[in-house]
């Protein structure tokens, strides 16, 4: 027999119930959204022409912030490595730590988190505004599949451009660390490069780029989903934008752990 919850537990139980139903419904909508993207992928005539412009907006325009973050990360990595190793481990290990850490972790993750803010928020706000001002409905009435016209170019562009941005960020981080080693740590270029090459394997680069591509896919898909499903007015657009950034950041960290478990 079903037991009816009464008294002080009623409100929290109702909240848990509502949250569970809301989460399940949200996952259902996300599943439908992904299925719609899958179907829209076949409409290349619609999304193809918009791809290059989106690659510029999502990738090229993100380079300055990614390079800025990478440069300072490289500087700090070199200094902290030197501080940690002094007196115990040869100096050229600074290059080992900088190379491995930039490629395997900080390059893709810090860039991914920065782009979750920049790109994810931008996408969610743009699509959310289009939704509440009925521009997405207008597209539909003009015979366009809005997923093919608006969503697929963004997702494809992020999938392609995140690895490109991360590759530049990795290079910038290593160059900044090398400059720091030369100028502040009394190291020579051969010393730094020796460390850099010591444990380097080409798979490190592949791993970095796989992570970056998965982050791009997650950030763009989540941003598009929250923007596309915005319901209400300006406040709803703000809420969608926040949700997109928070969830993208969380998914990046989960994916980071997932790739470490599965690929390393």
């Amino acid at each position: 027999m079903m037991k009816v919850i009464t008294g002080a537990w009623r409100a929290p139980a109702a909240w848990v119930g509502r949250s569970a139903v809301g989460t399940a419904a949200g996952m259902g909508r996300f599943g439908q959204f992904l299925a719609g993207i899958g179907h829209a992928l076949t409409d290349v005539r619609t999304w193809g022409p918009a791809l290059v412009a989106q690659m510029g907006r999502i990738g090229v325009a993100s380079l300055p912030i990614a390079l800025f973050i990478a440069a300072f990360t490289g500087i700090v990595l070199a200094l902290q490595a030197s501080y940690t190793f002094t007196g115990a481990i040869p100096k050229y290990f600074v290059g080992v730590l900088v190379g491995k850490t930039m490629l395997l972790e900080l390059g893709p993750v810090l860039t991914g988190l920065a782009l979750a803010g920049r790109v994810g928020a931008n996408i969610a706000a743009e699509l959310g505004t289009m939704r509440v001002t009925e521009q997405i409905d207008a597209l539909e009435t003009l015979g366009y599949d809005p997923l093919a016209h608006l969503v697929v170019p963004k997702v494809m562009a992020a999938l392609i451009m995140f690895p490109v941005v991360v590759a530049f960020a990795n290079a910038m981080g290593i160059v900044a660390a090398w400059a720091t080693a030369l100028n502040l740590l009394d190291m020579t270029t051969p010393e730094f490069v020796r460390g850099l090459r010591l444990f380097f394997v080409p798979f490190d680069v592949t791993y970095s780029l796989i992570k970056a591509a998965s982050f791009g896919l997650a950030v763009a898909t989540i941003g598009c989903f929250f923007g596309f499903t915005t319901w209400g007015g300006a406040q709803a657009v703000g809420r969608s934008t926040t949700q997109a950034v928070v969830l993208s950041s969380m998914v990046i960290l989960v994916l980071d752990a997932f790739w470490a478990v599965t690929l390393l």
Partner: protein, 250 residues
Amino acid sequence: MSIVLDGVAKRFGTAVVLNGVSLEARDGETLAVIGASGVGKSVLLKSVVGLIRPDVGTIQVDGELVTELRRQDLYNLRRRVGYVFQFAALFDSMTVEENLAMGLSRVPGLSLAERRERVAESLRLVDLEGFGAQMPGELSGGQRKRVGLARAVAIRPKYLLYDEPTTGLDPVTKTVIDRLILRMREELGVTSVVVTHDMTSAYRIADRIAMLHAGRIRYLGTPDQIRASDDPVVRGFIDGRPELMQEPVT
């Protein structure tokens, strides 16, 4: 061919918005759907083009069952239906010309020169020649509505759906929009459904007026018939007397 709704019902959560709406817009006529704000007029109009799927009932447009169409067939049908949005819904990152050309690029067999000519012709229809290079943000409310109308008619539809075309406009601009709606019927021969709560506009443009109330069609008749109606709900709405619209609970 016409637009036929049969027993259409739609609810959002626990709120029943449409509760068995049956209505027909006959070939070549202008049908106004009136009703208080929030009564479901826009939901009704969006259901006609498949933007909202009703829970129950059927909708037939140009002989095709909208409620049964596959996605691609629905997009094909929409090429025959122009939709004028309440706040125009212009693409704000595009110029007026680009807005108008959006729908035309989906029309098969139309060359680039023909598209340009169609855009210019549609802007002429709404008296906005020379506005093609402007951005939507540079236009007034009335001009935006006219561009929205031009975009809807650029594809030369057989049907035109207007969602509150005169809301938020001054009386002079309202008259301009009403005249444009009449002109569209005369020059393009379209069948139109106009959702509005503006009675002056409804009397001016409609062949018949349907009143939506409590999820159903409460009254359907010509402008003269609705003016003479003694139904308290209809009277309450057209005379602006809410106390008449409160029906006793039975």
